[in-house]
């Protein structure tokens, strides 16, 4: 536990150092992409615990991200004043609906971001419960196919629904006032603050997941990955554990979806596309599968490069390629723990240990 505390502190120093470097070198505009990378990292960390540790693959996590982002965007932009009626005025009296000015000087009656966020995340959690039950009985490729199917369904629904803007998505999403004085917002003046807000979320998520990994539950999840029948035989309710970690993982994706949508001020259907899910999985794979720190570093690096446009029009192809190469040559992931030992063994073959 002490070692984890030091790792977390070290990472916080790195986050602060990156911000200082951007301000010294005059690259403050990089903070926007770094902030977005942070939110994508939340999705990837949630997927890392599900796929890397518990061994349950998902190619549908963009679906949960989109459920979070779209619901929060819809509720905070839809003008409820056109509906009227006692329900609407009741919600307004409770503070769930609030009045805010729109871009043209008029007034909108929309859901406050807090209840919208809670509703969006709870909905994603409910969907994860509902589909997780039947889907997690499947293993390997079958589970991959089923989650892929879920991702495609969410994509087609948002693309075909006028209410959520179809191909245009939803824009003019307001800032999310998290606490007095702290808001998730894409405003230039709030750029540095939002960089820190985003990474605080990542560090919090990281603390939760590291705690989980180094606990009774984490061991149980790893045992399900390693030998499911043996896990069941020592009394671990494997079906329930798989469902719970699937829901936790979906909740991470949904929270990220909500926050990034408020940061960007909108969300479009590409956020729910299958290629996004493939990208998340590719990052977990290159990060070392059961390696939260490796996954986080790779997520920061690759998302930043992608968002800065370094991969150009090959963006999706780069991530697809990473996934294929990892599966072919390093199915345990690239930044895995034994990597250094293996490299040492390759360089000094005489000192290598005997295989059993």
């Amino acid at each position: 536990m002490r070692k984890q505390g030091l790792q977390i502190a070290g990472f916080a120093v790195v986050v602060a150092a990156i911000q200082l470097v951007t301000s010294v070198t005059g690259n403050v505009y990089h903070l926007t992409q770094l902030t977005m990378s942070a939110y994508y990292s939340l999705v990837v960390l949630g997927l890392c615990i599900l796929t890397g540790y518990a061994g349950q693959i998902s190619i549908g996590h963009a679906g949960f991200f989109a459920i979070g982002g779209y619901l929060s965007a819809l509720l905070t932009t839809h003008d409820f004043s056109v509906h009227g009626g006692p329900v609407v005025s009741g919600l307004a009296a409770m503070g769930i609906l609030t009045r805010r000015p729109d871009l043209y000087g008029g007034e909108l009656l929309t859901v406050h971001p807090w209840p919208a966020c809670i509703f969006a995340v709870l909905t994603a959690v409910a969907v994860a419960y509902a589909i997780g039950g039947p889907v997690l009985r499947l293993k390997g490729h079958y589970l991959a196919m089923a989650t892929l199917g879920f991702g495609i369904i969410v994509y087609r629904i948002v693309l075909g629904t006028e209410l959520v803007g179809a191909a245009d998505g939803i824009y003019n999403v307001p800032a999310f006032p998290l606490l007095p004085g702290i808001a998730v917002s894409g405003k230039f003046s709030l750029r540095v603050m939002n960089y820190y807000v985003a990474w605080v979320f990542v560090i919090l998520g990281m603390v939760f997941l590291l705690n989980l990994v180094h606990s009774r539950v984490g061991r149980a999840l790893a045992s399900i990955h390693g030998a499911e029948d043996a896990a069941e035989a020592v009394g671990i309710p494997t079906a329930r554990y798989k469902l719970k970690i699937f829901v936790v993982s979906a909740a991470f994706a949904a929270v990220a979806g909500v926050l990034l949508t408020h940061y960007n001020g909108g969300i479009g259907p590409s956020e729910s596309s299958v290629m996004k899910s493939v990208r998340y999985l590719a990052i977990v794979a290159i990060g070392g599968m059961a390696n939260l720190w490796g996954t986080l570093l790779m997520s920061l690096l690759l998302n930043f490069l992608s968002l800065r446009g370094y991969f150009g029009t090959f963006d999706d192809a780069v991530f697809g390629g990473i996934l294929i190469l990892i599966m072919l040559f390093a199915p345990d992931g690239l930044l895995r723990r034994q990597l250094f030992e293996e490299l040492k063994g390759a360089v000094f073959p005489a000192g290598g240990e005997k295989e059993t």
């Binding site: 989980l212 043996a230 896990a231 069941e232 020592v234 009394g235 671990i236």
Partner: protein, 254 residues
């Protein structure tokens, strides 16, 4: 007193009657062995008792309650632990961690409390570790606690699996060929371990091919052949039983 009572249990796989109307009891504190030629249905019977397979017919009363139809993890929670014929250790985990997983039922931390690392977990974790270190000592594996379990020699892997099952603090331990693939010295060590496990007030039901081990440590033996029980008696009488001798000498695959 009967701890486990199996009544008229049957299981059919397509055209094969794997277990056919088998009944027997396991008294509290006994070491009971299931023997029989390959394909006699011993492992199938183990899978039926521990909930990994559902029988077509029959009843299994364990510690006074019917356990048939329960999930394997529920049966484990009632106090039945098992090992596997093909070793099923958790890869990428140390020996200690493998055995710690066996303590799962004796700790309570759930998803939320583990994510928040609530204070009660620290105590729970340290007492689990202490118990597991004691088990490693009992098994003579203290020196290997931090080794990766699946990299140990085969004989030690079997012992780690035994230790993981012991960590449940079970009332009954089902051992599926604990001496399979072991040399004479290792087999003798396993035999001694099983006797010492009984001293810990744990009832043992084992499937085993090594006759000298079975005859040495068992109180009672059930003989299966083609899914049916053909004999049940003390080791000395089983060795004299003409039908048992005929099965073992008449078959070439024992």
């Amino acid at each position: 007193m009967k701890l486990l009572s199996v009544r008229s249990i049957s299981k059919r796989f397509g055209g094969l009657q794997a277990v056919d109307n088998v009944s027997f009891d396991v008294p509290q504190g006994a070491i009971k062995a299931l023997i029989g030629p390959n394909g006699a249905g011993k492992t199938t019977l183990f899978n039926l008792l521990s909930g990994f397979l559902r029988p077509d017919r029959g009843s299994v009363v364990f510690d006074g309650a019917e356990v048939l139809g329960l999930m394997p993890h529920q049966i484990a929670a009632r106090g039945m632990a098992r090992t596997f014929q093909q070793i099923r250790l958790f890869p990428k985990m140390t020996v200690l961690d493998n055995i710690l997983v066996g303590r799962h039922l004796h700790s309570r931390g759930g998803f939320v409390s583990c994510m928040l690392h609530l204070p009660f977990l620290r105590k729970e974790e340290s007492s689990a570790r202490e118990t597991c270190r004691e088990i490693l000592e009992f098994l003579g594996l203290s020196g290997q606690a931090d080794a990766e379990a699946v990299r140990l020699p085969y004989g030690q892997q079997r012992i780690v699996e035994l230790g993981r099952a012991l960590a449940l603090d079970p009332q009954i331990l089902l051992l599926d060929e604990p001496a399979a693939g072991l040399n004479i010295r290792e087999t003798a060590k396993v035999g001694k371990l099983i006797s010492r496990i009984r001293e810990r007030k744990i009832t043992v039901l084992l499937v085993e091919h090594d006759m000298s081990l079975v005859m040495d440590i068992s109180d009672e033996i059930v003989v299966l052949s083609y899914g049916q029980k053909i004999a049940e008696d003390k080791p000395a009488s089983i060795q004299e039983d003409p039908e048992v001798i005929q099965i073992y000498l008449g078959e070439s695959d024992a």
